[in-house]
């Protein structure tokens, strides 16, 4: 076929005829070739285009929430660019954003609701899906739920969510559970995401949240285990800020600490390789130098009563000689922990040279404003919360909390009320039914996991053990733990006897276990609100406006919940009849903007739809030289009292930044029991040895996200696959990145197939030599190894790294320790 085409073209070449309509204009001197060779009837020139419509939407390929302009001509979406009017996107996008059209036109999408006909479930079982109507699908699910409720077993229905967007999808799960009667209505994926960083901040400054950052005015960045130029959110904006920081005056200086070579390390002024799981030791040594060199911010931290006093390594100070300003427990922290955390000590733990630690500390401590930031590289370990607390403490020492060029937290949007108040629709069962005595299936908030936000990874093992009980029915929204959870093999077993409802538009692994599929519309087809993730602090909410009507028989998830709710017995149905549909919900949210118009003039649903985003600058609070001020409409002029600061900003028991955490001390018995830390020390920001998982392997195993990791969909997008791992030439697969010395010791040549083994089992991959990595650390970017997900994803690339990752979590945050495994490596 191809040969035939080529011959045709050769013939076309020989059939010389006059050029028509082609203004070739080859002017370069010295050309002696033939001219004007073309066939009249085949010559194609410029074609007229139809009318192009641009709609506002929000990208859905990572949590960043970049506003996008979607270009549609003659009913087809053909381009996506960043929305110039969206403060996160500013007209820009990351590499994933442009590929969004693939989500809409994915040939493997579900075309409508379906039910399973094969009762057997497993990787190799064809579900035998047959199409059904939406009415049949919703009636089937509602009947099942009503039946559970009649039997007093409504707690055995759970709703799982991963990437929730706002009040109009995952935000509805909690209310549904309250009305229907299950504690399991909103089991989020945060414990398999990044709860470690939230908990580290909760424990030190009282905010259980990611930070907002003022990169524009930062002069020093200390980046620890965050993949800043690959996956730190909001990635697109982070790169915009990188361009600014690296070309402004003065140029922002950057030190990056990571376990592997990556673009952030390569682009920084200083790259420090650290032994996995030891980030806290590095941060404590930085703190040690800041204190011994006298570099801390006196306005924020406070000072010695006598100017002749100082912190001397190994020597205690009396708490009475230090006047603390906005911190709590500094002298105690020094005496019990930091005084011995010298750079030399840290070198022995982290493998980073003491001289490099000292240089970094002096730079960080003497450049204002400075920010220390971190993510899962530091927190994906048993000691993750303590690692994070140690790093976050550096922000307190240099006074960057709530400061210009520092970091803060995120304010929420001025939404209007929903059409109805769920509290008015609770029946006696919802208020007092037996379900209220039941714990969540993941045991969140019980003695087993007292401090966590969610514990999704525990649900499958708990169901299998029947402890606390067996699930009956589970609905999944934007999450796929049967593939992505640590040790997902357990989920494959657990979901066999659970009635599974999947809502993904795509044929993922969860769908292969589904008894019913209620396919969501893709993001380019949905209307929904999108409040921002922590960004720059001031409130913002974007809106997804459908670029096209759903091209298949799909229904936006929020509308599925409403339609399901209308079918639940009792007053629940009345509540959902009041909501009516998602557009009505979104219109009610938008009504709140009438009294608080956005900076871009958005004050109702129509203007929100037109502009795509409502936002209102500035951030309400700022710390200036150790005093807190509130914005008075003109400037940061109204000074706040200590009580106000505690209420609004430093929400700890002491109202200060706590080097001795009151929150952790409340759970001292648990911490002593689970981590072996004496209860008297539980609250201290401290070094704790990581407990690695995986058995007796001699190599660390890390599975970072690349810039193209599109949340479960990257593996089924050919243009994504083609450039997924460019740094080592991964252009059709993902290679295992191995230091050549490590490989050669095992007789492994560049390009060999290798086997990676933990105590859970083995996966295979293709080896690629990368001399810039640590010899003790294997790197396998997380993307492939799917046994479903579509024609391109299925069976592509190396095995699924989750399958050799133990289900072990940080006892404090509950964050699954994805980056702490030890493995063995051999030729396959």
């Amino acid at each position: 076929m191809k040969l035939f085409q080529t011959l045709l073209n050769r013939r076309r070449f020989l059939q010389s005829s006059a050029a028509v309509g082609a203004s070739a204009g080859a002017v370069t001197a010295g050309i002696t070739g033939l001219t004007g060779l073309t066939l009249v009837e085949q010559a194609r020139a410029q074609t007229p285009r139809g009318e192009t419509v641009v709609t506002k939407n929000v990208c859905a390929q990572c949590p960043a929430r970049c506003g996008i302009d979607v270009y549609t001509t003659d009913g087809s979406v053909h381009a996506i660019y960043g929305d110039t009017g969206n403060p996160i996107a500013n007209g820009k996008l990351c590499p994933k954003g442009h590929l969004g059209s693939y989500f809409l036109y994915d040939p493997d999408r579900f075309k409508g609701p379906m039910k399973r006909t094969n009762p057997n479930k497993g990787r190799d079982e064809d579900p035998g899906f047959v199409p059904i109507s939406w009415d049949e699908a919703l009636d089937t699910v509602a009947e099942r739920l009503n039946d559970l409720r009649r039997r007093g077993e409504s707690h055995r229905f759970s709703m799982f969510y991963g990437r929730g967007w706002g009040a109009s999808d995952a935000g509805m799960q909690g209310t549904f559970g309250q009305l229907y009667g299950t504690p399991n209505a909103a089991i989020g994926h945060s414990s398999m995401c990044a709860d470690g960083s939230k908990k580290a901040k909760h424990a030190t400054d009282g905010n259980n949240s990611y930070n907002s950052y003022d990169y524009r005015n930062t002069n020093y960045l200390l980046i620890i285990g965050a993949s800043f130029l690959e996956a730190f959110r909001p990635y697109n904006n982070v790169m915009q800020m990188w361009g600014h920081m690296r070309s402004k005056s003065p140029k922002t200086r950057v030190t990056t600490v990571d376990v592997r070579m990556n673009p952030t390390m390569a682009a920084s002024d200083r790259a420090l390789y650290i032994k996995p799981g030891t980030d806290g030791a590095f941060a404590l040594a930085i703190a040690h130098v800041i204190l011994t060199e006298g570099l801390w911010d006196r306005d924020f931290v406070g000072d010695f009563t006598n100017p002749n006093l100082q912190f001397v390594a190994g020597r205690r100070v009396s708490p009475s000689v230090f006047n603390e300003k906005w911190v709590h427990g500094l002298a105690d922290w020094w005496n019990e922990e930091v005084k011995d955390r010298t750079p030399e000590w840290a070198e022995s733990v982290t493998s980073i040279k003491a001289a490099d630690i000292r240089r970094t500390a002096v730079e960080f401590g003497s450049t204002r404003p400075a920010v220390a930031l971190f993510e899962r590289g530091a927190t994906g370990h048993s000691n993750g919360t303590y690692n994070g607390m140690a790093i976050h403490s550096l922000n307190a020492l240099v006074g960057s909390l709530f400061a210009e060029g520092g970091l803060g937290y995120q304010m929420g949007p001025s939404y209007g009320s929903l059409p109805a108040d769920a509290d008015d629709y609770l029946d006696d069962y919802a208020r007092n039914g037996a379900w209220r005595e039941q714990p969540r299936i993941d045991m969140k908030g019980t003695e087993r996991w007292p401090m966590v936000g969610n514990m999704m990874q525990e649900c499958a093992p708990n169901h299998l053990a029947g402890d606390p009980y067996k699930l009956d029915t589970a609905m999944f929204f934007y999450t796929n733990p049967i593939w992505s959870a640590p040790n997902p093999q357990v989920w494959e077993e657990a979901l066999k006897d659970v009635f599974v409802i999947d809502t993904s538009p795509f044929p993922g692994e969860t769908a292969m276990y589904a008894d019913i599929v209620l396919p969501d519309s893709t993001y380019l087809e949905r209307l929904q609100d999108i409040p921002t993730y922590p960004f720059e602090g001031w409130p913002m909410a974007a809106l997804r406006v459908p670029a096209v009507e759903p091209i298949h028989d799909t229904k936006m998830y929020g509308d599925v919940i409403i339609e399901l709710g209308k079918r639940i017995e009792g007053p629940t149905a009345d509540y959902y009849r009041e909501l009516d549909n998602i557009e009505n919900v979104v219109r009610h949210l938008a009504a709140g903007f009438a009294d608080d118009p956005g900076d871009n003039g958005v004050n109702d649903f129509e203007t929100w739809r037109e502009k795509g985003v409502w936002y209102k600058k500035p951030y309400q609070w700022r710390q200036i030289r150790g005093e807190f001020y509130e914005w008075d409409g003109q400037r940061y002029a109204r000074q706040m009292s200590e009580e106000e600061v505690q209420q609004q900003l430093l929400k700890t028991p002491s109202g200060k930044f706590e080097f001795r955490s009151g929150y952790l001390e409340e759970h001292a018995d648990y911490i002593e029991r689970e981590m072996g830390i004496p209860r008297a020390r539980a609250g201290l920001v401290q070094w704790v040895e990581p407990v690695h998982t995986g058995g007796d392997g001699d190599l660390h195993f890390v599975t970072p996200k690349t810039p193209l990791h599109a949340e479960g969909r990257g593996a089924n997008i050919p243009h994504n696959i083609a450039i997924h791992q460019p740094i080592v030439g991964g252009r059709n697969t993902v290679y295992l990145e191995v230091h050549p010395q490590t490989a050669k010791e095992r007789g492994i040549r560049n390009g060999d197939r290798v086997r990676i083994t933990s105590d859970l089992g083995s996966i295979e991959a293709e080896c690629r030599y990368v001399a810039s990595h640590r010899a003790d650390t294997l790197v396998l970017p997380f993307e492939y190894g799917h046994w479903a997900q579509g024609r391109w994803a299925k069976d592509r690339g190396p095995g699924n790294s989750s399958e050799i990752t133990a289900n072990v979590s940080d006892p404090i945050s509950g964050l699954a320790s994805y980056y702490t495994g030890k493995v063995r490596l051999e030729r396959a």
Binding site: Q5, T6, N9, G21, A22, S23, A24, G25, A26, V27, G30, I31, G33, G36, L37, T38, L39, Q42, A43, R44, A45, T47, T52, H78, A79, Y81, G82, G91, K92, L93, P95, G97, H98, S101, Y105, M239, W242, G243, H244, R246, S247, M261, P263, M265, A266, A267, P707, H719, A722, I723, I727, V728, G729, R731, K744, R749, N750, A771, S772, R774
Partner: protein, 253 residues
């Protein structure tokens, strides 16, 4: 008429490849047919290794070797279109001489075994003489300039998004995506570049920002010894083609 030029600041580039995907979707190239690729180079060993990257569009050379060798004059440089080098798909016979002659490796022949299986051309087949017809095809098409989706058997390349650039107001010095008046005329790779590592403007206009940057930051052209004289300039420490061996070969036993 302007002479369009691009400036790429390697000190700001983060190697994210948004330029690559923006180009792919704007121009409907096939997977692997990356008119705008980013090449990575590794050198040295832990703990003092380095990694560099080089975004690589067509250089739109002033003296393009591809044009010199084309036997059908399918490839040509158009001074009336900003000095952009085009391939006329009505004339190209797919002989690939231009691909060999190009010192920068920025010409593509996509009518062969696909990089990614299953072949997306079979998923989205064409019935109108194109290689394939994705549902998200850009409606812009001009085969005389290699714009649109190519027929089988021809060479394709970056056009500086001429279908956008051609609409720019006469006499404009720079096509800066931050200027709402012109953002729709900016090449896709420049428009989307998050760290603003790319600039696009008139090299014939001494007032343009691109000329200012080339002057202030000592812009260099790649492989200048070939005499091709690119209209793409690079800025930043170490701007140029790294002399490293590709990562996958360096440590071959």
């Amino acid at each position: 008429m302007a002479k369009w030029g691009m400036v790429i600041d390697l000190d700001k580039c983060t190697g994210c490849q948004a330029c690559t995907t923006a180009c792919s979707m704007e121009n409907n190239t096939l997977p692997g047919e990356s008119w705008q690729d980013v090449l990575f180079y590794n050198a040295g060993e832990y703990p003092s290794a380095q990694m560099k990257w080089l975004p690589r569009p067509c250089m739109q050379c002033e003296n393009p070797s591809c044009v010199h060798v084309c036997p059908t004059r399918a490839t040509y440089k158009d001074p009336d279109a900003g000095g952009i080098v085009f391939v006329d798909w009505n004339k190209c016979i797919g002989c690939k001489y231009c691909m060999i002659a190009c010192p920068y490796g920025v010409r593509f022949y996509a009518d062969e075994k696909p990089l990614i299986e299953p072949d997306i051309r079979e998923t989205f087949p064409s019935d109108n003489g194109q290689l394939w017809s994705p549902p998200y095809q850009n409606p812009e098409e001009d085969w005389r300039r290699g714009i649109g989706i190519q027929p089988p058997g021809v060479v394709s390349k970056c056009t500086f998004c001429y279908h956008k650039v051609r609409l720019a107001p006469e006499g404009v010095a720079d096509l800066d995506e931050d200027n709402p008046e012109v953002k729709e005329y900016v090449p896709a790779c420049v428009r989307t570049c998050a760290p603003k590592a790319r600039y696009f403007g008139d090299l014939d206009n001494p007032e343009s920002q691109v000329n200012q940057l080339i002057g202030d930051k000592h812009g260099v052209r790649l492989k200048d010894h070939t005499g091709n004289r690119p209209q793409v300039y690079y800025l930043g420490a170490g701007a140029g083609v790294p002399a490293f061996t590709p990562a996958d070969r360096e440590h071959d036993a």
